[in-house]
Symmetry: C2
Subunit: 263 residues, 2 copies
């Protein structure tokens, strides 16, 4: 990304040679292992941590709004941490596994069709490349080349007909990564709450200590999302802070108003 910006800048500055060099560097970089590869489990980690911190803090805020004791804040915060963390992790695991199963099944289906109805499948390849602007002898030769290799043929059907780009990800590892990072993220508001309880000067303000520390952590975790969600870090950080704040204010508000109704 950076190198393309460099190329654009050089081009605008009337230095086409520098632009060409930067562009070439970019081309080489693009052939290195894909950025998404590196981010395969990183995205589970970052998203898990985000979710953990937002939902745990919403529980802390709701309980505080309902004017329950600090002990209950911790009990329910921990209960939510474990319960939600497990459900997120299991959801990630099952989701990834079903995606892997689905892609494998579609691949087997295409392979079966290629083996048993080669003519129909060949016609589909022809149609795909006709739409890309080929015709006549060239079209036939392309169809010939693609269908000469079973793997290549199936791959073409997957991408062009089914629009499936396969991703190789271990469901179990994705689930575990989600669980651990959810626990780590979700522990932040609770640890802040406990720490505040240890210092007499802060003890009466456990909730506010938790607010400040959690806000900083939300911004930090949010800005880390920029590694996987294609967004400038400061914007990702602020957005996360806004989402987490909104959730906490809503939970606090419900707790506060319903407590009034209940008493």
């Amino acid at each position: 990304m950076k190198r393309v910006d460099e190329a654009r800048r050089a081009y605008r500055q009337g230095d086409p040679d520098a632009a060409a060099r930067a562009h070439e560097m970019n081309r080489i970089a693009a052939e290195e292992p894909h950025e998404q590869e590196r981010g395969k489990y990183l995205s589970d980690a970052v998203l898990g941590a985000s979710d953990g911190i937002v939902t745990t803090f919403a529980v802390v805020a709701g309980v505080t709004g309902a004017a329950l004791s600090p002990t209950i804040v911790l009990i329910l915060g921990l209960a939510n941490l474990l319960g939600d963390g497990l459900s997120m992790a299991a959801g990630t695991y099952l989701g990834e596994r079903s995606e892997v199963d689905y892609q494998q099944k579609e691949r087997e289906r295409e392979l079966w069709e290629v083996r048993h109805f080669p003519e129909g499948e060949r016609a589909e390849v022809r149609e795909i490349y006709r739409k890309k602007g080929l015709s006549g002898e060239v079209l036939e030769q392309v169809v010939e080349a693609i269908t000469a290799d079973e793997e290549r043929w199936v791959e073409t059907m997957m991408r062009e007909e089914l629009e499936i780009i396969e991703e190789r990800k271990d469901p179990l590892r994705a689930g575990l990564t989600t669980f651990v990072s959810f626990l780590v993220g979700g522990a932040i508001p609770l640890v802040a709450y406990i720490l505040a309880g240890l210092f007499p000067a802060l003890a009466a303000h456990g909730f506010w200590a938790s607010v400040v520390i959690t806000a900083l952590a939300m911004f930090t975790v949010g800005s880390m999302r920029s590694i996987v969600i294609h967004k400038p870090w400061h914007r990702a950080g602020l957005e996360m802070l806004a989402v987490g704040g909104l959730a906490a204010v809503a939970a606090y508000g419900v707790g506060y108003f319903l407590r009034g109704l209940a008493s």
Copy 2:
């Protein structure tokens, strides 16, 4: 899917004509608007409802485990419903928007490269098709055809180089769908809890009434996931029941044991 199974069955039964007919039907069906199109917001709805029911019930279980009053179960259940629902919805909205932005930016980048460094980009197209088994004159003609049209050229780079298949989804609609379905799903355990309170025979068993109704609802919502997650409905239903049950048991357990420590 069904028609392919039909084709396979007919083929195995030694009726290639019936198999060919079924296969042809399948080919026609595949040209109809893609199944994923229909499921674009359906997946947000189903996933939102699943998440709502699981997390709200985990809160109900945690509070019950900590032996707090039914009023507090409802207050905290509602606080969590609104807080988590808002954060889920905002997360969906921001995630979709950043995905749309990213794809648009990558498309603009490729377009810029195609316009300013056509030779480098043409070499990339050549490389892509060389890997598909083309060479010599045919390869050159394919490169010529693809690069003759700017739109087609950029599309090829998006799919083959960047592995991006663009999805047109309205972020706002995705976020709202998530919010509403989260509220509907999450309301189920709470409504069950309230209803139980209205019947004297059940009043002492509010939690268990909520357990039974929630379990049925979890299975139902879970089996609806089979529409979007490529899984048989009964398996999707049972898996969701297992995930929700696990989360609830964990939350109940933490509430129960920590209450013991606290008192």
